[in-house]
Protein backbone atom coordinates (compact mmCIF):
# COMPACT_ATOMS: atom_id res chain seq x y z
CA UNK A 1 0.00 0.00 0.00
CA UNK A 2 1.40 3.38 -0.91
CA UNK A 3 1.48 6.27 1.44
CA UNK A 4 -1.26 8.05 -0.47
CA UNK A 5 -3.52 5.00 -0.33
CA UNK A 6 -2.88 4.70 3.37
CA UNK A 7 -3.74 8.35 3.97
CA UNK A 8 -6.98 7.89 2.08
CA UNK A 9 -7.83 4.89 4.21
CA UNK A 10 -7.03 6.84 7.34
CA UNK A 11 -9.04 9.90 6.32
CA UNK A 12 -12.04 7.82 5.37
CA UNK A 13 -12.26 5.55 8.34
CA UNK A 14 -10.27 6.72 11.34
CA UNK A 15 -13.09 8.63 12.99
CA UNK A 16 -15.67 5.93 12.29
CA UNK A 17 -13.44 3.28 13.85
CA UNK A 18 -12.76 5.22 16.98
CA UNK A 19 -16.41 6.04 17.34
CA UNK A 20 -17.20 2.34 17.06
CA UNK A 21 -14.77 1.52 19.85
CA UNK A 22 -16.24 4.35 21.87
CA UNK A 23 -19.70 2.80 21.53
CA UNK A 24 -18.28 -0.34 23.08
CA UNK A 25 -16.46 1.19 26.00
CA UNK A 26 -17.58 4.83 26.48
CA UNK A 27 -13.88 5.82 26.86
CA UNK A 28 -12.77 8.34 24.25
CA UNK A 29 -9.04 8.12 25.08
CA UNK A 30 -9.04 4.35 24.84
CA UNK A 31 -11.02 4.48 21.63
CA UNK A 32 -8.54 6.89 20.03
CA UNK A 33 -5.61 4.74 21.17
CA UNK A 34 -7.04 1.56 19.77
CA UNK A 35 -7.90 3.21 16.47
CA UNK A 36 -4.37 4.60 16.27
CA UNK A 37 -2.89 1.17 17.09
CA UNK A 38 -4.99 -0.38 14.38
CA UNK A 39 -3.83 1.97 11.65
CA UNK A 40 -0.23 1.77 12.83
CA UNK A 41 -0.47 -1.99 12.60
CA UNK A 42 -1.94 -1.81 9.11
CA UNK A 43 0.94 0.37 7.98
CA UNK A 44 3.73 -1.53 9.70
CA UNK A 45 2.57 -4.91 8.52
CA UNK A 46 1.90 -3.57 5.05
CA UNK A 47 -1.63 -4.99 4.96
CA UNK A 48 -3.65 -4.59 1.80
CA UNK A 49 -6.82 -2.82 2.89
CA UNK A 50 -9.15 -1.25 0.35
CA UNK A 51 -10.82 1.85 1.71
CA UNK A 52 -14.04 1.14 -0.17
CA UNK A 53 -14.38 -2.64 -0.03
CA UNK A 54 -12.82 -3.62 3.27
CA UNK A 55 -15.02 -1.78 5.78
CA UNK A 56 -16.11 -4.92 7.60
CA UNK A 57 -12.47 -6.05 7.83
CA UNK A 58 -11.50 -2.80 9.53
CA UNK A 59 -14.30 -3.08 12.05
CA UNK A 60 -13.40 -6.70 12.72
CA UNK A 61 -9.72 -5.89 13.31
CA UNK A 62 -10.64 -3.01 15.57
CA UNK A 63 -12.97 -5.29 17.47
CA UNK A 64 -10.20 -7.90 17.91
CA UNK A 65 -7.76 -5.29 19.18
CA UNK A 66 -10.38 -4.01 21.58
CA UNK A 67 -11.21 -7.45 22.92
CA UNK A 68 -7.59 -8.40 23.45
CA UNK A 69 -6.94 -5.17 25.32
CA UNK A 70 -10.02 -5.46 27.46
CA UNK A 71 -9.82 -9.16 28.18
CA UNK A 72 -9.64 -8.97 31.93
CA UNK A 73 -11.14 -5.55 32.47
CA UNK A 74 -14.66 -4.81 33.48
CA UNK A 75 -15.71 -1.39 32.22
CA UNK A 76 -18.23 0.91 33.70
CA UNK A 77 -20.13 2.49 30.86
CA UNK A 78 -20.98 6.13 30.94
CA UNK A 79 -22.04 7.93 27.80
CA UNK A 80 -23.26 11.16 29.41
CA UNK A 81 -20.28 13.15 28.16
CA UNK A 82 -21.13 12.57 24.54
CA UNK A 83 -24.90 12.81 24.53
CA UNK A 84 -26.28 15.91 22.86
CA UNK A 85 -29.88 16.83 22.27
CA UNK A 86 -31.06 18.36 19.04
CA UNK A 87 -34.08 20.56 18.73
CA UNK A 88 -34.12 21.20 22.40
CA UNK A 89 -32.76 24.48 23.59
CA UNK A 90 -30.43 24.02 26.48
CA UNK A 91 -31.55 27.11 28.26
CA UNK A 92 -30.39 27.72 31.81
CA UNK A 93 -33.63 26.68 33.46
CA UNK A 94 -33.58 23.38 31.61
CA UNK A 95 -30.02 22.43 32.47
CA UNK A 96 -30.81 20.23 35.46
CA UNK A 97 -33.48 18.48 33.43
CA UNK A 98 -31.00 17.92 30.62
CA UNK A 99 -28.47 16.45 32.99
CA UNK A 100 -31.01 14.05 34.38
CA UNK A 101 -32.09 13.03 30.90
CA UNK A 102 -28.50 12.48 29.84
CA UNK A 103 -27.95 10.30 32.84
CA UNK A 104 -31.04 8.28 32.07
CA UNK A 105 -30.00 7.74 28.46
CA UNK A 106 -26.51 6.76 29.51
CA UNK A 107 -27.78 4.27 32.06
CA UNK A 108 -30.22 2.80 29.63
CA UNK A 109 -27.56 2.35 26.97
CA UNK A 110 -25.16 0.86 29.49
CA UNK A 111 -27.77 -1.75 30.31
CA UNK A 112 -28.26 -2.81 26.71
CA UNK A 113 -26.44 -5.91 25.51
CA UNK A 114 -23.28 -4.79 23.70
CA UNK A 115 -24.36 -5.74 20.19
CA UNK A 116 -27.70 -4.00 20.62
CA UNK A 117 -26.05 -0.89 21.99
CA UNK A 118 -23.45 -0.66 19.25
CA UNK A 119 -26.11 -1.08 16.57
CA UNK A 120 -28.31 1.57 18.18
CA UNK A 121 -25.44 4.05 18.40
CA UNK A 122 -24.39 3.49 14.81
CA UNK A 123 -27.95 4.24 13.76
CA UNK A 124 -29.15 7.03 16.02
CA UNK A 125 -25.85 8.32 17.23
CA UNK A 126 -24.13 8.44 13.84
CA UNK A 127 -27.04 8.45 11.42
CA UNK A 128 -26.07 5.33 9.44
CA UNK A 129 -28.67 3.50 7.39
CA UNK A 130 -29.48 -0.11 8.26
CA UNK A 131 -27.72 -1.49 5.20
CA UNK A 132 -24.62 0.54 6.03
CA UNK A 133 -24.62 -0.88 9.55
CA UNK A 134 -25.11 -4.38 8.16
CA UNK A 135 -22.09 -3.95 5.86
CA UNK A 136 -19.75 -2.75 8.62
CA UNK A 137 -20.71 -5.28 11.22
CA UNK A 138 -20.94 -8.07 8.69
CA UNK A 139 -24.47 -9.07 9.68
CA UNK A 140 -27.80 -9.24 7.82
CA UNK A 141 -30.28 -6.35 7.69
CA UNK A 142 -32.83 -8.45 9.57
CA UNK A 143 -30.34 -8.77 12.38
CA UNK A 144 -29.91 -5.00 12.44
CA UNK A 145 -33.67 -4.55 12.66
CA UNK A 146 -33.91 -7.05 15.48
CA UNK A 147 -31.24 -5.27 17.50
CA UNK A 148 -32.82 -1.87 16.91
CA UNK A 149 -36.15 -3.13 18.16
CA UNK A 150 -34.49 -4.46 21.24
CA UNK A 151 -32.80 -1.11 21.85
CA UNK A 152 -35.97 0.89 21.42
CA UNK A 153 -37.89 -1.40 23.75
CA UNK A 154 -35.32 -0.88 26.46
CA UNK A 155 -35.26 2.87 25.95
CA UNK A 156 -39.03 3.14 26.01
CA UNK A 157 -39.17 1.15 29.18
CA UNK A 158 -36.52 3.25 30.90
CA UNK A 159 -37.39 6.71 29.70
CA UNK A 160 -41.16 6.81 29.61
Amino acid sequence: MTRTEFKTLFDTHFDAIRRYIYYRCSDSELASDIAQDLFTKIWEKDMKVDHLKDKALLYKMASDLFVSKMRRKKVELNYSNSIEFENISESPDKIVEMEQLRAKYSQSMAKMPEKTRVTFLLSRGEGLKYHEIAERLNIGIKAVEKRMNGALTILRRDLL
Binding site: F14, S32, T40, W43, D46, I83, E86
Partner: protein
Protein backbone atom coordinates in the same frame (compact mmCIF):
# COMPACT_ATOMS: atom_id res chain seq x y z
CA UNK B 1 -37.72 12.70 22.25
CA UNK B 2 -35.57 9.64 21.86
CA UNK B 3 -35.08 10.41 18.18
CA UNK B 4 -33.33 13.60 18.95
CA UNK B 5 -30.14 12.49 20.58
CA UNK B 6 -26.74 12.69 18.97
CA UNK B 7 -23.57 11.07 20.20
CA UNK B 8 -20.47 13.22 20.02
CA UNK B 9 -17.55 11.90 22.00
CA UNK B 10 -15.15 14.54 23.23
CA UNK B 11 -11.88 13.62 21.55
CA UNK B 12 -8.74 15.07 23.08
CA UNK B 13 -7.11 15.15 19.65
CA UNK B 14 -8.71 15.60 16.25
CA UNK B 15 -8.11 13.16 13.44
CA UNK B 16 -5.79 15.64 11.72
CA UNK B 17 -3.77 16.19 14.84
CA UNK B 18 -3.26 12.48 15.28
CA UNK B 19 -2.15 12.18 11.68
CA UNK B 20 0.43 14.93 11.92
CA UNK B 21 1.72 13.87 15.31
CA UNK B 22 2.01 10.17 14.71
CA UNK B 23 1.44 9.01 11.17
CA UNK B 24 3.15 11.81 9.28
CA UNK B 25 6.61 10.75 10.44
CA UNK B 26 5.73 7.08 10.57
CA UNK B 27 4.85 6.98 6.90
CA UNK B 28 7.55 9.32 5.62
CA UNK B 29 10.30 7.02 6.87
CA UNK B 30 9.26 4.18 4.66
CA UNK B 31 9.09 3.88 0.90
CA UNK B 32 8.19 0.78 -1.12
CA UNK B 33 11.55 -1.04 -1.21
CA UNK B 34 12.19 -0.48 2.48
CA UNK B 35 9.07 -2.33 3.49
CA UNK B 36 10.53 -5.63 2.40
CA UNK B 37 13.77 -4.92 4.26
CA UNK B 38 11.72 -4.33 7.38
CA UNK B 39 10.24 -7.78 7.01
CA UNK B 40 13.61 -9.31 6.24
CA UNK B 41 15.10 -7.52 9.23
CA UNK B 42 12.40 -9.03 11.39
CA UNK B 43 13.14 -12.54 10.12
CA UNK B 44 16.83 -12.05 10.76
CA UNK B 45 16.14 -10.90 14.29
CA UNK B 46 14.06 -13.99 15.01
CA UNK B 47 16.70 -16.21 13.44
CA UNK B 48 19.57 -14.73 15.42
CA UNK B 49 17.57 -14.88 18.63
CA UNK B 50 16.87 -18.55 17.96
CA UNK B 51 20.52 -19.17 17.11
CA UNK B 52 21.70 -17.53 20.31
CA UNK B 53 19.25 -19.59 22.34
CA UNK B 54 20.54 -22.76 20.68
CA UNK B 55 24.18 -21.86 21.23
CA UNK B 56 23.52 -21.65 24.93
CA UNK B 57 20.98 -24.41 25.12
CA UNK B 58 22.82 -27.25 23.39
CA UNK B 59 25.89 -27.33 25.64
CA UNK B 60 23.65 -27.01 28.65
CA UNK B 61 21.64 -30.00 27.54
CA UNK B 62 24.12 -32.34 25.85
CA UNK B 63 24.76 -35.17 28.26
CA UNK B 64 27.14 -38.11 28.07
CA UNK B 65 26.35 -41.36 29.85
CA UNK B 66 28.55 -44.14 31.13
CA UNK B 67 26.91 -47.40 32.02
CA UNK B 68 28.23 -50.64 33.40
CA UNK B 69 26.37 -53.90 33.29
CA UNK B 70 26.61 -56.73 35.74
CA UNK B 71 30.11 -58.11 35.85
CA UNK B 72 31.62 -54.96 34.32
CA UNK B 73 34.00 -52.39 35.74
CA UNK B 74 34.85 -49.22 33.88
CA UNK B 75 37.48 -46.52 34.35
CA UNK B 76 37.08 -43.20 32.67
CA UNK B 77 38.75 -39.81 32.45
CA UNK B 78 36.71 -36.64 32.67
CA UNK B 79 37.63 -33.58 30.57
CA UNK B 80 39.72 -32.00 33.34
CA UNK B 81 41.71 -35.12 34.02
CA UNK B 82 39.65 -36.25 37.01
CA UNK B 83 39.22 -40.01 37.06
CA UNK B 84 36.11 -42.08 37.67
CA UNK B 85 35.87 -45.83 38.26
CA UNK B 86 32.46 -47.41 37.96
CA UNK B 87 31.56 -50.64 39.71
CA UNK B 88 29.16 -53.13 38.14
CA UNK B 89 25.58 -52.15 37.37
CA UNK B 90 26.16 -48.44 37.72
CA UNK B 91 25.40 -45.39 35.69
CA UNK B 92 26.98 -41.98 35.51
CA UNK B 93 26.12 -38.93 33.39
CA UNK B 94 27.80 -35.57 32.89
CA UNK B 95 27.73 -32.61 30.48
CA UNK B 96 31.04 -32.43 28.61
CA UNK B 97 30.37 -29.12 26.86
CA UNK B 98 29.97 -27.16 30.07
CA UNK B 99 32.42 -29.17 32.18
CA UNK B 100 34.70 -26.14 32.48
CA UNK B 101 31.88 -24.11 33.96
CA UNK B 102 30.29 -26.74 36.13
CA UNK B 103 31.87 -30.02 37.20
CA UNK B 104 28.72 -31.96 38.02
CA UNK B 105 27.92 -35.63 37.56
CA UNK B 106 24.86 -37.70 38.33
CA UNK B 107 25.18 -41.29 39.29
CA UNK B 108 23.50 -44.37 40.58
CA UNK B 109 25.35 -47.46 41.77
CA UNK B 110 28.91 -47.28 42.99
CA UNK B 111 31.81 -45.16 41.76
CA UNK B 112 35.25 -44.16 42.95
CA UNK B 113 36.47 -40.66 42.12
CA UNK B 114 39.88 -39.07 41.97
CA UNK B 115 39.14 -35.42 41.48
CA UNK B 116 41.73 -32.93 40.27
CA UNK B 117 42.01 -29.73 42.28
CA UNK B 118 39.86 -27.00 40.80
CA UNK B 119 36.38 -25.59 40.88
CA UNK B 120 33.69 -27.38 42.86
CA UNK B 121 32.96 -30.93 41.80
CA UNK B 122 29.60 -32.41 42.67
CA UNK B 123 28.11 -35.90 42.50
CA UNK B 124 24.33 -36.11 42.62
CA UNK B 125 22.48 -39.28 43.51
CA UNK B 126 18.92 -40.01 44.44
CA UNK B 127 19.98 -40.26 48.05
CA UNK B 128 22.05 -37.16 48.36
CA UNK B 129 24.68 -34.86 46.90
CA UNK B 130 28.45 -35.02 47.41
CA UNK B 131 30.61 -31.94 46.90
CA UNK B 132 34.41 -31.97 46.78
CA UNK B 133 37.31 -29.71 45.94
CA UNK B 134 40.07 -32.11 45.06
CA UNK B 135 40.04 -35.45 46.67
CA UNK B 136 39.61 -39.22 46.46
CA UNK B 137 36.32 -40.70 47.51
CA UNK B 138 33.86 -43.51 46.91
CA UNK B 139 30.12 -43.11 46.46
CA UNK B 140 27.64 -45.95 46.89
CA UNK B 141 24.02 -45.20 46.07
CA UNK B 142 21.74 -48.12 45.28
CA UNK B 143 18.06 -48.17 46.23
CA UNK B 144 17.88 -46.63 49.66
CA UNK B 145 21.44 -47.42 50.63
CA UNK B 146 23.78 -44.43 50.52
CA UNK B 147 27.39 -44.47 51.65
CA UNK B 148 30.16 -41.98 50.92
CA UNK B 149 33.74 -42.70 51.99
CA UNK B 150 36.50 -40.12 51.90
CA UNK B 151 39.90 -41.60 51.15
CA UNK B 152 41.78 -38.30 51.10
CA UNK B 153 40.88 -34.61 50.89
CA UNK B 154 37.57 -33.14 52.00
CA UNK B 155 34.09 -34.05 50.99
CA UNK B 156 30.74 -32.44 51.73
CA UNK B 157 27.80 -34.82 51.81
CA UNK B 158 24.28 -33.45 51.65
CA UNK B 159 21.22 -35.62 52.17
CA UNK B 160 18.88 -35.34 55.13
CA UNK B 161 21.45 -33.16 56.81
CA UNK B 162 24.92 -31.98 55.77
CA UNK B 163 28.25 -33.37 56.92
CA UNK B 164 31.86 -32.78 55.93
CA UNK B 165 34.20 -35.75 55.72
CA UNK B 166 37.93 -35.88 55.87
CA UNK B 167 40.37 -38.74 55.39
CA UNK B 168 39.18 -42.12 56.53
CA UNK B 169 35.66 -41.05 57.30
CA UNK B 170 32.46 -42.46 55.92
CA UNK B 171 28.93 -41.07 55.86
CA UNK B 172 25.88 -43.24 55.42
CA UNK B 173 22.12 -43.10 55.93
CA UNK B 174 20.95 -44.55 59.20
CA UNK B 175 17.62 -46.28 59.73
CA UNK B 176 15.96 -42.93 60.45
CA UNK B 177 17.14 -41.62 57.10
CA UNK B 178 19.65 -39.17 58.56
CA UNK B 179 23.35 -39.03 57.82
CA UNK B 180 25.74 -40.74 60.21
CA UNK B 181 29.50 -40.31 60.14
CA UNK B 182 31.96 -42.97 61.23
CA UNK B 183 35.67 -43.45 61.25
CA UNK B 184 36.87 -46.23 59.01
CA UNK B 185 39.89 -48.32 59.92
CA UNK B 186 40.91 -49.81 56.66
CA UNK B 187 39.43 -47.45 54.14
CA UNK B 188 41.12 -49.16 51.22
CA UNK B 189 38.75 -52.07 51.70
CA UNK B 190 35.87 -49.88 50.63
CA UNK B 191 37.43 -49.39 47.25
CA UNK B 192 38.93 -52.81 46.94
CA UNK B 193 36.25 -53.60 44.41
CA UNK B 194 38.47 -51.80 41.94
CA UNK B 195 40.93 -54.64 42.18
CA UNK B 196 38.21 -57.28 42.23
CA UNK B 197 38.44 -57.81 45.95
CA UNK B 198 35.25 -57.45 47.92
CA UNK B 199 35.16 -56.79 51.63
CA UNK B 200 32.08 -56.77 53.79
CA UNK B 201 31.85 -55.57 57.37
CA UNK B 202 28.64 -56.41 59.19
CA UNK B 203 26.67 -56.31 55.99
CA UNK B 204 23.22 -57.89 55.60
CA UNK B 205 23.59 -61.14 53.65
CA UNK B 206 21.11 -59.86 51.09
CA UNK B 207 23.46 -57.04 50.09
CA UNK B 208 26.40 -59.42 49.91
CA UNK B 209 24.56 -61.80 47.61
CA UNK B 210 23.43 -58.81 45.48
CA UNK B 211 27.01 -57.67 45.05
CA UNK B 212 28.15 -61.18 44.12
CA UNK B 213 25.35 -61.41 41.58
CA UNK B 214 26.38 -58.04 40.20
CA UNK B 215 30.05 -58.88 39.88
CA UNK B 216 29.62 -62.28 38.30
CA UNK B 217 26.57 -61.33 36.27
CA UNK B 218 24.58 -64.32 37.42
CA UNK B 219 21.06 -64.36 38.81
CA UNK B 220 20.88 -65.44 42.41
CA UNK B 221 17.57 -66.09 44.11
CA UNK B 222 17.06 -66.05 47.83
CA UNK B 223 14.26 -65.61 50.30
CA UNK B 224 14.06 -64.61 53.90
CA UNK B 225 17.70 -64.01 54.67
CA UNK B 226 17.45 -60.44 56.01
CA UNK B 227 18.48 -61.23 59.51
CA UNK B 228 21.86 -62.67 58.62
CA UNK B 229 24.82 -60.32 59.00
CA UNK B 230 28.07 -61.13 57.25
CA UNK B 231 31.65 -60.06 57.73
CA UNK B 232 34.19 -61.38 55.29
CA UNK B 233 35.53 -61.04 51.81
CA UNK B 234 35.87 -62.69 48.46
CA UNK B 235 38.02 -62.26 45.43
CA UNK B 236 36.64 -62.40 41.96
CA UNK B 237 39.41 -64.80 41.10
CA UNK B 238 37.40 -67.49 42.85
CA UNK B 239 34.54 -69.19 41.08
CA UNK B 240 31.08 -68.06 41.96
CA UNK B 241 30.27 -71.41 43.55
CA UNK B 242 33.22 -71.13 45.86
CA UNK B 243 32.30 -67.61 46.80
CA UNK B 244 28.67 -68.46 47.45
CA UNK B 245 29.65 -71.44 49.58
CA UNK B 246 32.04 -69.38 51.65
CA UNK B 247 29.47 -66.72 52.20
CA UNK B 248 26.48 -68.91 53.03
CA UNK B 249 28.20 -71.57 55.06
CA UNK B 250 28.27 -69.65 58.37
CA UNK B 251 24.49 -69.52 58.33
CA UNK B 252 23.79 -73.11 57.48
CA UNK B 253 22.76 -72.20 53.94
CA UNK B 254 24.06 -73.40 50.62
CA UNK B 255 23.83 -72.48 46.97
CA UNK B 256 21.98 -74.70 44.54
CA UNK B 257 22.15 -74.45 40.82
CA UNK B 258 18.86 -73.29 39.32
CA UNK B 259 17.51 -72.61 35.83
CA UNK B 260 18.53 -68.98 35.79
CA UNK B 261 21.61 -69.19 38.00
CA UNK B 262 21.65 -70.06 41.67
CA UNK B 263 19.27 -70.32 44.58
CA UNK B 264 20.17 -70.01 48.23
CA UNK B 265 18.59 -72.77 50.26
CA UNK B 266 18.93 -74.37 53.68
Amino acid sequence: MKEDIKINPKWSKSKEEIWSEHFETLTSKESEPLVSTVRFGRYMRYLSAAAIVLIFLIPAIYTRSLVTKKGEHLSFNLPDGSMVSLNAESKMTYKPLIWWVNRAVKMDGEAYFEVKRGAKFSVSTENGVVKVLGTKFNVFSRGEIFSVSCISGRVEVRSDGVVVLENNKRAFLGSDGKLIVEQVQEIEKIISWRTDLFYFTETPLEDVIDEISRQYNIDIEYSDINSYIYTGNFSKESSIETVLEIVTLPFGLKPEKSQKGYKIVR
